[in-house]
Point group: C2
Chain length 332, copies 2
DNA sequence: TTGAAAGCGTTACCAG
DNA sequence: CTGGTAACGCTTTCAA
């Protein structure tokens, strides 16, 4: 079992002191150039790598951040994680990625585990269940930088989110202006700010066009395929079924597509669909779903940058809004 | 800026020695029960957390593993990563996730960065470009446990992969037996063992049924949407166009679907499609693509378990094959 | 120009 | 039952 080579090993080998080796390897002054060269040569040859724990122990700096997402396997989150990771790598940071399974209790667990790894900061997309923020308060007390992204909340953290109200409004206006009259809103949990905002935009658009609001067309609930499926079926079974559906999440959009097909209805003629979802999923659905395009790369990189600023001492919290745009495809 | 509390802090506060605190907090004998209680109480109250770097420095054990995948945002890999992460968490390990962008040079980079983090082991899905394995040899020299998964190679590491030859054979037989006569194989790079194996199974099935092999129907190349699109279009432009396509990768399957649609052809009547892909993507495609179902959860958990065994001293390398099954949907 | 030693947080060993 | 101390790898300050 070959051991890793340390500065001490190199020092012993050359009959010099560790501190000299340290200075040489860090390019600090105070080493004769011959000795420096010899040290560098040996270090190279022996494949010396600094031990990150020694550093971390001294400076409590790990060059590692934590990521928490509701579902790592879902395209939307996977893309954001990919871009956060890419940006982090550019800046010399690595990412510990954790999956909360969209559950509050797991999210708390993830925070604890990341804390135990001494990550320098955490970026977090809230679970759909989260409406107690004690775990985030704890991070703030400890002065651990936190940035919320995608699903955010007002808890005194920096955030990166989409202009949800306006996007919801735009989507609804598009449907109204293409002649739809009974537009349903298929959302996540009411307590989620993201859902609340999108619904807000939806209602705003209806009022703006002088359309009356029908409560039975607003169905908020669990974000899951099955919940989306059954809620869409309920909508389609209404005496006056909706002629359009706005889905608050990619999973819900896909679910409603399948529900509509299963009833033998046509898209978009009988029921139009607009979803808040990733382009990738829209692209492979048939018909392609008209979607609210969120710039996932921008969300990812801005999120990391905000976190990095905080790690580097920035005190003020910032709220960044990434503008989403309606991307019109065949489904609406 | 509140500092983290250490054993030393607790010791000072109570006027005892650090070693006593250490024993108390670790439940070791040699502390009076009153003192122990007092120490535990204070530790709890001050929210003491052991510093992992001190441990790591002493034992060079980080309870962290590295994951390298070609594309974190692609459903197939994202699912596997999710399951690896879940299994790791169960066993007290965290995951540093990296994305090679399906590029050899980035893959090497990822290995180096993970090494610098002193991960206890690495699980790796090869990039499509990788056919030099020096970076993996280096890991073996350093006795860093490695497990290859999904895309594997014969480099003396443990592996977890799908029964690619047999799956390729089954898919082809299914097409032949449903009356298809000009079956194309749309694959990844020839040098990739995964592609080679699947193609092998494809050829085997053709021979088995006494069908002649047409080289122009075998199109291997880059794994990307655009490459899949253009290669499918080439196939469809052949004088005798194929009446079925087997796609070696989810991206290629999706691409061929779109290419076929763009030519105004029907699926599966004009051209049938079978893909090696995740159920999730099959589910949202229309028509749903008949796919080779790989148990991604099993791949993920077996991969981690194999790695954990090696971390715990297992010397023998193992090759695990996870059986995939053809899952017949509408596209074939 | 080089060496010696302290310190980061923890555990383990040896004294008392 | 408790205290002291060395060790892990590295940087930094002070002394030679």
């Amino acid at each position: 079992m070959k051991k890793r080579v340390s500065q001490r090993d190199i020092a012993r080998r050359l009959g010099v002191n560790v501190s000299t080796v340290s200075r040489a390897l860090n390019g600090l002054p105070g080493v004769s150039s011959e000795l420096r060269q010899e040290i560098e040569r040996l270090a190279m040859q022996q494949d010396y790598q600094p031990n990150p724990f020694a550093m971390s122990l001294r400076y409590d700096t790990t060059r590692t951040i934590g990521i928490i997402v509701p579902d790592l396997a879902f395209s939307h989150y996977a893309h954001i994680v990919k871009h956060i990771e890419a940006e982090a790598k550019k800046n010399g940071y690595m990412c510990i990625v954790t999956d909360s399974g969209d559950k509050y209790s797991h999210e708390v667990e993830c925070v604890n585990q990341l804390l135990s790894k001494h990550v320098e900061g955490i970026v977090l997309c809230l679970s759909q269940e989260t409406n107690d923020f004690a775990h985030i308060e704890r991070l703030k007390e400890r002065h651990i930088p936190v940035v919320l992204f995608d699903r955010v909340a007002d808890v005194g953290c920096s955030t990166v989110s989409v202009n949800d109200v306006e996007s919801g409004r735009q989507a609804t206006l598009h449907l109204i202006d293409s002649g739809k009259r009974r537009i349903a809103f298929l959302g996540g949990p009411n307590k989620l700010k993201q859902t609340a905002d999108r619904k807000h935009g939806y209602l705003e658009a209806l009022r703006e066009r002088g359309m009356n609001i029908r409560k039975d067309l607003v169905k908020c609930g669990n974000v899951s395929f099955n919940s989306g499926l059954s809620r869409t079926l309920e909508l389609l079974d209404l005496p006056e079924r909706p002629d359009a559906i706005i889905a608050d999440h990619g999973l819900l959009a896909i679910a409603s597509l399948q529900a509509i097909y299963s009833k033998g209805l046509r898209i978009p003629e009988d029921v139009a669909v607009i979803g808040f979802m990733s382009e990738w999923v829209s692209d492979i659905s048939v018909p392609r779903i008209t979607f609210v395009k969120q710039n996932l790369k921008e969300i990812g990189s801005k999120t990391f940058k905000l976190l990095l600023d905080q790690i580097n001492g920035e005190q003020n919290i910032k709220h960044i809004t990434v503008n989403a745009r309606l991307n019109i495809k065949e489904s609406a």
